[in-house]
Symmetry: none
Subunit: 414 residues, 2 copies
């Protein structure tokens, strides 16, 4: 089944917003046996949209759209579909009632403009949106399908997962593509390339290597008539890679460093506390991205001043003797927050985001300390001195190194 | 002059890479008087590409492409242009020599495949690429232009700035577009739509309304023969909007809530400390995105356990009496961290991310407290209960409300 995606909104054409919806959907199509052949970003222009739908339906079997379902005059996706199909949208009273209930639940009355969102054409059905006022549309005509979803990812993602993907699974019978992602940290791209070189160069399964902010990823891609067959093609390659790279592998597929760490902490009933300076809360914020992280994360301190270091139990004489950016200070931070919160492990991070007056500590230099259960892991890092790069790289290192420390005695993870 | 952009490469359609080139180019077009009307992401497929060029040239005056200029068989942008124009590429010996010199300079000999990059059609000229082996193409036929650039941003950006943009400035005599972005918080999209309805529906200046995580944005877009004229067209609309929405406006153009707040804190020499639970470090991490935030941000606590609350000076009896998710606890958090760090303002945030056992506190319910300089701002928020939405919305509210509190006596910001 051939597909295209339309990301709709003039703001996307003004370069003021980078569309992430198309890539998000694109990543989910291969496993469904759907082949994406075109992505368009189109402005809020009725003729352009109608034209795009007409063309797209000639070229592809299914069109996914995001955006343009809001209540304002700019939002023209529904109108574009209707025009391309030559149908007239009419108001659906039961949806008006639902919208009214939605606004009442928020202590407001429905603005008159929102009635736009209760329109439907004969060829379309509504797609339920639990997180907003704009329901999606699922339109079918002459064997072609148009699925329209709202633009905000917080609304689009659940609609995709709960409504759209289950329906697609029933419809699509094409060859599927299965992907296995193996995530490593601690070896360079070149080193990995050499270690697993024998697996490169095949067409199916195909092996790709990608450098990311959380390390080097290896991706195995197999195409077959069904998921089981594709997985059987992937298995020997995966085994070969895990045998050779075992201790450097920290996760698989969509797993993030914070999820991989959270899982082992939960499994072993261990708790964590953090104190960070140069990462400025990025570490705490990343840890708390994981649902139920409150069961193992006791909290953290973002130490952006000496007052905050001292109030959190870092001895002033350590900072005086070794300087704020030092392994000793990182160690003291990890120890202080662990003891203060009675956690099993403490992470301490300190580093330079600006050049120091005497230039002894270049921006991008950071010290990481992981302390607890009678163990101490010290680490000096040098990363490109962009603020966001420092935050992301140093935090990822902390999460992955703590996981490694905890699982070191367990044997490789399969 | 009407334009479109093609981002070319099958990897973009696999969802493995998010295209940023299109947004980068898009942001540069309005000021050049070029109107972008379509962006396409197209795979490495000759027929698709030729088809896209034919269609695009019918619809637009100029097509910018990135990607597909590499030396491999997959790279088909040149071939696609040639096919659409019905011309045959031939090898240009002087470019072969240049490529040979490029590789010699790196101590290598030119791979045979790279000869692909020395091909040209009669309607095209090369565009110099200082940072790679793939020169661009500038093709002109029947008054239409196709500009093809390599995909890596490190090559594409300098080519754009040094070669493409100067040429465009000479060619394009169209009107320029100037944009003014007005950012509000505290009113719904529908409410704003009604309040400033008289400004909608005009073509030029055009007014758009957008719902974002940091509130509702109004964008005025004016086209005119020069920047000054466009600005003069924007001014009365902007005045009308600021008169009607004044206290709800917190920033303009690219400004973020953390920048807007940081600016007034710095200006007035005030300092800030934070204690947050349901936002899990998002607030601290956002504040520290701003360079030099260490001059006004003393640090923060991410309180994910009672131990952390108590260790930071929140009285246990407050949490016992009112519960963790309560205005009183938020107030105690703001006060405790402000006093502990000797800051001028403290922000306290508490809220529910999970349903509470007795269902009295639904997920998405949060309390915000801003305390300092003899003032106290209390706020109850109800946001959609997605983890990232809670984090972003509640943090943005905190930043924007503190800015409002500090500037309340200053009159509206112009």
């Amino acid at each position: 089944m051939k597909a295209e995606i339309f990301s709709i909104g003039t703001e996307l054409l003004m370069g003021e917003l980078t569309d992430t919806n198309a890539a998000w959907i694109a990543a989910r199509l291969p496993a469904l046996g759907i082949q994406l052949q075109w992505v368009s970003i189109i402005g809020d222009d009725l003729d352009m949209l109608a034209n795009a739908f007409t063309q797209g339906m000639r070229r592809s079997d299914i069109i996914f759209t995001t955006g343009g379902l809001g209540p304002t005059q700019d939002d023209l996706t529904r109108e574009g579909v209707a025009k391309a199909l030559g149908e007239t949208p009419t108001v659906q009273p039961e949806v008006v009632q639902e919208l009214e209930r939605y606004f009442q639940g928020r202590g407001a009355s429905m603005p008159a403009t929102n009635i736009k969102q209760a329109h439907l054409i004969p060829s379309a059905q509504f797609v339920r949106n639990r997180n907003g006022t704009a329901p999606g549309w699922w339109a079918e005509r002459d064997g072609k399908i148009i699925v329209s979803m709202p633009g905000p990812p917080g609304e689009m993602h659940p609609i995709w997962e709960e409504e759209v993907e289950p329906r697609l699974r029933q419809i699509v019978k094409d060859e599927v593509t299965v992907t296995r992602n193996i995530k490593t940290m601690g070896l360079s791209e070149g080193a990995i390339d050499e270690i697993v070189s024998e697996y490169f160069g095949q067409e199916n399964p195909y092996l790709g290597i990608y450098s990311k902010a959380d390390g080097i990823h290896l991706r195995i891609i197999a195409r077959a008539r069904d998921t089981g067959t594709a997985q059987a093609m992937i298995a020997p390659v995966e085994r070969g890679i895990t045998d050779r790279l075992g201790p450097y592998i920290w996760g698989y597929d969509d797993e993030t460093p914070e999820q991989a760490l959270g899982q082992v902490l939960k499994q072993k009933g261990l708790t964590l506390a953090t104190m960070e300076s140069c990462t400025g809360g990025f570490l705490a914020n990343t840890i708390t991205e994981v649902p139920d992280s409150s069961s193992y994360y006791k909290g953290g301190v973002v130490a952006y001043s000496n007052e905050m270091h001292f109030a959190s139990g870092v001895p002033p004489e350590i900072i005086e003797s070794y300087g704020e950016v030092s392994q000793e200070t990182a160690n003291a931070m990890a120890r202080a927050i662990r003891q203060r919160l009675g956690a099993d492990f403490g992470i301490g991070i300190t580093g330079a985001t600006h050049p120091s007056p005497d230039e002894s500590r270049p921006p991008g230099l950071a010290y990481l300390s992981i302390e607890g259960m009678g163990q101490l892991k010290e680490m000096e890092l040098r990363v490109p001195p962009r603020r966001i790069t420092i935050k992301r790289r140093v935090s990822n290192n902390a999460l992955i190194e703590l996981r490694k420390l905890i699982t070191a005695g367990d044997g490789h993870r399969k």
